[in-house]
Amino acid sequence: MTVDTAPLVEQLKGGLDAPICLTWELTYACNLECVHCLSSSGRRDPRELTTAEAKGVLDELHDLQVFYINIGGGEPMIRRDFFELVEYSIGKGIGVKFSTNGAFIDADKARRLAAMDYLDIQISLDGTDAATNDAVRGDGSYDTAIRAMEHLRDAGFGEFKISVVVTRHNVDQLDEFKALADEFGAQLRITRLRPSGRGADSWHDLHPTQAQQRQIYEWLLAKGDDVLTGDSFFHLNALGEEPLPGLNMCGAGRVVCLIDPIGDVYACPFVIHDEFKAGSVRDAGGFSDVWKRSDLFNELREPQSAGACASCGSYDACQGGCMAAKFFVGIPLDGPDPECVSGHGEAAMLAASSGSVAPPKPMMDHSKPARVPVALTRR
């Protein structure tokens, strides 16, 4: 018997006693309305967890020994009890990493954030110039993010993160993103665009082309050592012998999960849909019961079939890709990833769209009502 037993990935697939990568979207309210928002955020949901309920969840996460949580939204800093909850969490030994568009980080808040231990901040930015960024994230959002970064730097926050969703339009800016991060003493994090939330509508126009997929893979191999990617690009491992750094498997319901603003628990932040809803923190057994005993999560922890990918020589490397990405373009979960590097995604999407069922739509939509252009009166 050696100390190293089964490969790590195999152990993780069976699930853990508590999540490693728990995302908690604190609110659906947001000052922005990004076209690729994975949670279709905009308006606050009146059923949002109260401060007391949120603290109750944190107590539970403490008992489960969750080491840190990823807080997002919406824009989490919109919640009036944002600092109260963050401080409560950290006080319980649960580190906080939170994602923000930066709109609420002024000099004062930056100092307050800089004074806290076990706190990481990710500023979302999707272009190294205003034109590229604002096309996706809205007018003025580039300047807002840069201002927040300046405040953090001036406050001596230290190494915060710049978080980029890679699209067809910013993929050529990867070097510039890295330079920007270096300039701020920040760390770069790049993630994959998935057709979730409002991303379902914008994905076809925004997702990187096949040639750009290879470009991302090669860039990560050459320069990705200190770039964070999470589980974003493991489908690209089919492109070569050398696996990318990061989590090379789908962790949904196994090591990953989402608590949404109203307390519903989903398998992953990218699958806000009834089919992937495991329960609610408001249920009698709370979050732990959902994590440990929900049928959905237990099913996801069973060995998954390779399905249509079984005959592909790259399956071990690519694992068939991202479940969320397949789901929202209508590809069966044991089919190929829509961005399959061998090109099988296109055919699978075509097959899906020629069937009678339309791809599933996200089930929570908190987008602000469309701004109806004011009709100019014709004289």
Binding site: T2, V3, L8, Q11, L16, D17, Q65, F67, G93, D117
Partner: protein
Amino acid sequence: MLDSSLDLHPQVALRPEPFGALAYHYDTRKLVFLKHPDVVRVVRSLADHATVADTLTACDIDERRWPSFDKALTSLYESEMLHDR
């Protein structure tokens, strides 16, 4: 490593898991897997014994397995999960 006096770093938390335990370092934000319950037992009792070798003896670890423990503990030491007492 066998002669060193080690201890779990005070900023490291251990969480039991079916395969062993997860170790999380709050300062470096590193997450490490202790992939066998025996490693967890050894790590937890390092502070109670003068050296790593004494700990292995006290934990009833067969000497044939010592090299693999040496390796596992060295890598934990290198990632700052363990430190010198």
